[in-house]
């Protein structure tokens, strides 16, 4: 087994969770999706209107 395969296997093993944990985690994932939709609505409202000009004109002098 290569080092990469071994590490990927470890990751998979560590990722295995119980049924209850999966259910709780899927409820949480749904909640996160709903939150993200609200967040994206809000970004549409507050994002600087002329994004291109905003990004282009943000030029800084280098610091430490």
């Amino acid at each position: 087994m290569s080092e990469l395969e071994r590490i990927q296997k470890q990751r998979t093993e560590r990722s295995e969770t119980s049924h209850e944990e999966k259910e709780a985690s899927s409820a949480k994932t749904d909640q996160l999706k709903a939150d993200l939709d609200d967040l994206l609505d809000e970004i549409d409202i507050v994002l600087e209107e002329n994004a291109e000009e905003f990004v282009r004109s943000y030029v800084q002098k280098g610091g430490q």
Binding site: E3, L4, I7, Q8, R11, R14, S15, T17, S25, K28, T29, L32, D35, L36, L39, L40, E42, I43, V46, L47, E48, A51, E52, F54, V55, R56, S57, Y58, V59, Q60, K61, G62, G63, Q64
Partner: protein
């Protein structure tokens, strides 16, 4: 044995707007507006500032040594912080703190100070000249400015041991504490054309060890200016981190680094993971490891000096276990009391487990994930390409310090600290270090203090020679040691009489 990990963060804020688009003028307006608001205008005392001294004891490396500008706007706040213009940015240098949570509080207080300063300055500016500040570290066009951490370290530890022991942490910690950004902006960063990077800062590092901070930036900075008794202490000046909007990220960044330095003082370097063979390559490579959020990408590995392949996660996991061993042995008292240590280790572990199992569960604590979630979500909703200026605008506006514009404030980030406490910390110094003595003196005797710096205060009583009060030990001058002295000293003369008597 580990010395108490006195620590703090200094942040240069990004700045736009201002009369004639001049960032130095705009930065000066920010500092002077806040000084007027706080009724505090105190000169910085440059005696004892030696940014050209190299921790490796080298001389003749001065061509890139930092240049100290002595004439720019500056003030010292009643919370013990310094607010001034550094190069072309307003900088808030938080007061020295005793624990990572306290240092996080004073970093967040800095955001409140900058917000107040911006509001005050904008009152006297035309609509077209309004100033906006950003708590970030690059402009997306190849210019970077720093967020530096400082840690008190025993002088007994050879600098080469600090380098060897801390490199694994410094190259990998961005996995948990990076602030994220769209694309790349340096020649080195653009080679592989990343869509997104975990850290704002990583691609700017070109050397492993060095004195410079504005060019050819080193992963480990050697500035040897302890602002304390140089026989006993070093101040490790860490320049490789990002400015965090997430309070948890700031807390765990400070706490993990402080614990590892304390572990180094306790165990020596042999307990630490082997450093990467090429640390500069490692810090840049790990910044571009998107495998945590993109299953089509494979995890980035670097080879350590023993030839073993290390991912940023594997390094952080090993370092967490090392910190835990140090705590099992000592309780971690050099860093924080046990309740805070327990919060710190629980959060550090939760970030590591979360990023491995389901990153969406820690997007409320890891800045690069919070930002990535916004950018990826917005991209999908509006069917945009990675090059869209609207995505670049999100990447930038995440760091806008105005609550009505800040995207970080909308990201649902977990708050460790109450707004009430952060606002109080704008004015009140930490009780646990000499910053208490500095802040209280500025508050009580503003007219008699003519200059200040980290390790002394200069009083002018108008009676001839100036009086310098040295504060060479960062853990003296605490509230416990000096509160009574202040209560018994209604005037600066009383204070000096008592100190001399």
């Amino acid at each position: 044995m580990a010395v108490e990990k006195i620590l703090g963060i200094e942040t240069e804020y990004g700045i736009s707007g201002g009369p004639e688009g001049d960032p130095i003028l705009a930065s000066s307006l920010i500092v002077t507006a806040y000084a007027r608001f706080a009724r505090s205008s105190i000169r910085w005392d440059f005696d004892g500032e030696h940014p050209e001294i190299d921790a490796r004891g080298l001389r003749g490396h001065l061509q890139f040594a930092p240049v100290v500008e002595k004439t720019v706007a500056n003030t010292v706040l009643t919370n013990g912080a310094r607010l001034y213009v550094d190069h072309a940015h307003p900088e808030y240098s938080a007061p020295e703190c005793r624990t990572p949570l306290e240092a996080t509080l004073y970093d967040v207080a800095g955001e409140e100070v900058m917000l107040e300063a911006q509001t005050q300055a904008n009152r006297s500016l035309e609509v077209d000249d309004q100033i906006t500040l950003y708590k970030n570290n690059s402009d997306g066009k190849g210019n970077s400015y720093g967020t530096h951490e400082n840690y008190l370290v025993s002088r007994e530890i050879p600098f080469s041991d600090i380098v060897r022991a801390m490199l694994p942490h410094f190259v990998s910690r961005q996995l948990l504490f990076g602030s994220g950004k769209l694309g790349a902006e340096t020649e080195a960063g653009m080679i592989s054309g990343p869509t997104y990077q975990l850290s704002q800062r990583s691609e700017f590092f070109e050397e492993i060890v060095g004195l410079e901070t504005t060019m050819k930036r080193p992963v480990v900075n050697t500035r040897d200016e302890p602002h304390a008794d140089a026989e006993r202490f070093r101040r490790l000046h860490v320049i490789n981190g990002d400015a965090n909007m997430s309070q948890v990220a700031t807390f765990v960044k400070l706490g993990s680094t402080a614990l590892l330095l304390a572990a180094l003082e306790e165990f020596g370097p042999s307990e630490f993971p082997s450093p990467p063979q090429d640390p500069v390559r490692a810090i840049r490579l790990f910044a571009q490891d998107l495998s945590w959020v993109d299953e089509s990408q494979s995890t980035a590995f670097c080879e350590d000096e023993e030839g073993k392949r290390q991912s940023s996660w594997a390094y952080q996991d090993a370092l967490w276990h090392l910190a835990q061993r140090y705590i099992d042995l000592t309780g971690g008292m050099a860093v924080a009391p046990s309740s805070e240590i327990s919060l710190l280790m629980t959060q550090w572990r939760a970030l590591l487990d979360g990023i491995e199992r389901d990153p969406s569960t820690v997007a409320d604590r890891i800045d690069w994930l919070a930002k990535y979630r916004m950018i990826a979500g917005y991209k999908e909703r509006h069917d945009l390409g990675w090059q869209s200026p609207r995505l670049a605008a999100i990447s930038l506006q995440y760091h806008d310090i105005r609550p009505e514009k800040s995207l970080a404030k909308r990201a649902g980030l977990h708050q460790l600290l109450s707004l009430i406490d952060s606002r109080a910390a704008m004015h009140e110094p930490p009780a646990s270090t000499r910053a208490y003595f500095r802040g209280e003196s500025v508050k009580r005797y503003p007219n008699e203090i003519t200059a200040a710096n980290w390790d002394s205060l200069v009083f002018d009583l108008g009676d001839g020679p100036l009086h310098r009060v040295p504060m060479m030990d960062p853990i003296r001058g605490t509230k416990a040691l000096t509160e009574k002295l202040f209560l018994e000293s209604p005037t600066a003369r009383d204070l000096l009489d008592r100190l001399n008597g």
